[in-house]
């Protein structure tokens, strides 16, 4: 009798196990069962050391060191997103371009405004999220006059109880996150030379990484590392000049011959031009804690008039990999040698483990570059695995995977006296600074980008310190199709787009991907949109007060609910026509962006608000 019972129990256990296995198979998320092309073995996944599991906070603009801008929170889904409603709003009191994402750490939201770069700490545990403290750094007003693309700020960084941010007038500050008191302030950039700082710092291994802006002002680009405790300079790596300034030493191994050689940062320029050649570092830095390596891109060379700077103009418009401890370069890859059109290379760099077949994965960087190509590179060596166009272009034939070189279409170089028409992509590229998001759920990169072309005429620019060093007249307009913006879901493994959404206005807002399968972005006329991450179907939208060019984020509130926050305040290069009240009759205004957004002043007005949304209780 006892034996029978044992047998029955054993059978029951077996049935339960089999049922559980079958059930779990049937309940796999649709993306995994929708076909072999998207099966998990063929998906890129965020590199785990750079992308820890979600804790409900949002401590840095990119969400994690791998720059995924992905929140694991999954309460909001395509099925219920239509019920999203405003939870609270907050005004910064500014009317400049509002690009910085709020940060959320331990039930406090930190909002960073454009110039004058005030920081507000909001208590999320209380109704209406009242202000805990305000930090007013008082940066110089004159800095606004040398900020090429609006007095914007791209965000702060929370690390070890401190908020780190950069001020427009060239200072980096550390603020105590509990009290709002300034801990240290270090001056790094000089507005008298046209330098400002607009980028968000990245903090890792006790170092605060900061780079300058000013590629249109004849600055010499650099990335600096400050000690997070004291604010003292640890190292500074220039983007041009002799190897000792660029921190190129014995450990440097470039993947391609054109980036190997002594002092290329001097010899790839006309004599002395490297001192005013640009290569600013105003975009995004990613960090691989396993390789102890940072990855970031350098800006366009200056001036825009290419005839004044024959040569490859190293190390502009390319990507550096550096040791975070010493700043020494590990490798460099130049995406756009001898840039002709202001195609900076400062866009976000995502760290993923990339499948290369046979079940193997390599540590890779994937990045939608401004020149219109989506690069997949081995992040240990910099070697390019693939570079496919993700937007429309007609000035580059492609990237030669043997030599690593971008192949320009001949005859499209503007020279004095000969304007070139129909350059695609235009100066802001197929995509500018506003970062894409990567969802490990779908394996797709969500790219908010542009569809702009331009006419360009150049003349000799005079270098006068602290004034624009451009030498170009530009007039931008919509590319083929007439839509100025595109939202593309890109599969980095199959190297093709999965879906795209055509947007009338240029897309200047970053994207946010969430674990519930909803992706968020905003438009310059103020619509905040939620789409189904798999199909691109619009599931919810909300009209904010101004235009959206800022980073949306997602966090877990003290009540356990998932919240979505987005800044609303049009401006930046694309929105300067509104925030700086430019005159739409001059097509060359705002370095040519005016012509592409002539209708914007009628559609939106300036503002500076954070909107926070949640599902009803």
């Amino acid at each position: 009798m006892r034996r029978l019972w044992v047998g029955v129990i054993a059978v029951l256990v077996l049935v339960v196990i089999v049922a559980a296995v079958l059930w779990s198979k049937n309940n796999r998320s649709p993306d995994q069962s929708s076909g072999p092309a998207q099966a998990s073995a063929f998906k890129a996944v965020p590199s785990s050391s750079a992308s820890p599991p979600d804790d409900g906070n949002w401590t840095m603009p990119a969400k994690d060191y791998a720059a995924t801008r992905f929140s694991g929170l999954n309460q909001i889904t395509p099925a219920n997103a239509a019920k999203l409603q405003v939870s609270f709003t907050f005004s910064t009191g500014t009317t400049e371009g509002f690009e910085a994402p709020p940060l959320v750490v331990n039930n406090t939201m930190y909002v960073v405004a454009p110039w004058p770069n005030n920081v507000f700490a909001l208590d999320l545990t209380k109704p209406g999220a009242p202000t805990k403290w305000v930090y007013k750094p008082n940066p110089a007003a004159a800095a606004k006059g040398v900020a090429c693309c609006g007095p914007v700020n791209r965000g702060a960084f929370y690390w070890n109880g401190r908020i780190f941010l950069n001020l427009l007038d060239g200072n980096t500050v550390a603020v105590d996150a509990a009290s709002g008191k300034e801990v240290w302030r270090t001056k790094l950039a000089d507005i008298q030379k046209g330098e400002t700082i607009t980028m968000a710092p990245l903090v890792a291994e006790g170092k605060v990484l900061v780079g300058n802006s000013g590629g249109e002002m004849g600055v010499r680009g650099w990335l600096a590392a400050l000690d997070a405790g004291s604010g003292k300079l640890a190292w500074k790596a220039y983007s041009t000049g002799p190897d000792k300034d660029v921190l190129i030493g014995a450990g440097y191994r470039a993947p391609y011959p054109q980036d190997q050689g002594r002092d290329l940062g001097v010899t790839s320029w006309p004599p002395g031009y490297w001192k005013i050649g640009g290569g600013a570092v105003w975009g995004w830095v990613s960090y691989d804690p396993a390789l102890k390596t940072i990855y970031y891109g350098t800006s366009n060379p200056g001036p825009w008039n290419q005839q004044q700077r024959p040569g490859d103009n190293k190390w502009t418009a390319g990507v550096f990999a550096r040791d975070i401890g010493t700043g020494q370069a590990r490798w460099f890859y130049q995406s756009t040698p001898h840039d002709l059109y202001d195609h900076d290379d400062i866009n976000e760099i995502l760290l993923v483990d990339y499948p290369i077949g046979n079940g193997q994965r390599i540590p890779a960087i994937i990045r939608p570059s401004r020149n219109g190509f989506f690069y997949v590179q081995d992040r240990r060596t910099g070697r390019v695995l693939s570079a496919k166009p993700y937007g429309y272009g007609n000035v580059y034939k492609g990237v030669d995977l043997k030599t690593g070189r971008l192949i320009p279409v001949g005859g499209m170089e503007p020279v004095p006296g000969r304007a070139v028409r129909n350059i695609c992509p235009a100066s802001p590229g197929a995509k500018d600074w506003n970062p894409s998001a990567f969802s490990p759920v779908t394996g797709l990169v969500y790219i908010p980008h542009l569809n702009l072309c331009q006419d360009m005429g150049v003349s000799n620019a005079n270098y006068i310190p602290g004034t624009p060093f451009v030498g170009a007249d530009v007039k931008m307009y919509a590319g083929p199709g007439g839509n100025r913006g595109v939202f593309t879901a890109w599969d980095p493994v199959t190297q093709r787009k999965v879906f795209e959404i055509k947007e009338d206005l240029p897309l200047w807002s970053p994207a946010l991907a969430t674990g519930g399968g909803v992706v968020f972005y905003g438009t310059m006329d103020g619509w905040f949109k939620a789409i189904d991450a798999r199909t691109g179907k619009l599931v919810w939208q909300f009209k904010t007060g101004s235009g959206i060019i800022g980073q949306p984020i997602s966090y877990r509130g003290p009540d356990g609910r998932q919240y979505i926050a987005v800044p609303s305040g049009v401006g930046g290069w694309a929105g300067a026509i509104v925030s700086a009240d430019l005159d739409a009759r001059d097509p060359t205004g705002a370095l040519g962006f005016n012509n592409a957004v002539k209708d914007l002043p009628k559609r939106v007005s300036p503002g500076g608000m954070v909107y926070v949304f949640a599902l009803p209780k």
Partner: protein, 182 residues
């Protein structure tokens, strides 16, 4: 009358008429002005309503003067003004072709802005440009919003012909305080 004779007569009449056109009075061989850039006095409100000083008559040599305006046009590009203000539409700096004058639209107010700079990012050009160049630039800046007569502004520009010719520029309304000088 032979046709040759008639044509000559027409030509002569035309020349005579042209000679009568007094486009501008330019003292090409005169002594240089002892011109000075005025101190910064951008304001248009005075306690008690005291009348503001009249424009120095010598400055008429810069406004309504084709040579001065075209020199200013060149300087506007060469000194990188164009990098911030574009061809009047603005960018890093404010638009100059609209009806809005933050620091006054009179030629001496503009000259003061160029010479002394302004706190929100306009650099001071005193010592970088001669006073004469500053006045020329100020005259050109006024032409961007159509404040200068059409026969004094240049119909041609040095840059990519993206912008309409200056001779097509509509004259923007100016503040009452400035209009007295027009």
């Amino acid at each position: 009358m032979s046709s040759l004779c008639r044509n000559s007569l027409i030509l002569m009449t035309a020349f005579a008429l042209l000679a009568g056109c007094d486009r501008e009075a330019r003292d090409v061989r005169g002594k240089p002005f002892g011109e000075t850039v005025p101190g910064p006095s951008p304001d248009t409100i005075f306690p008690g309503g005291a009348p503001r000083g009249a424009l120095d008559p010598r400055l008429a040599a810069y406004g309504r003067n084709a040579y001065a305006i075209s020199q200013g046009q060149q300087l506007f590009i060469r000194m990188n003004c164009v990098g911030c203000h574009a061809h009047g539409g603005g960018g890093m700096g404010p638009a100059l072709m609209d009806a809005q004058w933050r620091y006054g639209g009179r030629i001496d107010q503009i000259a003061a802005t160029i010479a002394e700079g302004r706190p929100n990012g306009m650099p001071s050009w005193r010592g970088k440009l001669t006073n004469q160049q500053i006045w020329q630039l100020a005259a050109f800046v006024r032409s961007l919003s159509g404040q200068e007569p059409k026969d004094a502004v240049s119909a041609r520009a040095d840059e990519l012909s993206n912008t309409p010719p200056e001779t097509q520029t509509r004259r923007e309304p100016v503040m009452p305080a400035d209009s007295a000088q027009q």
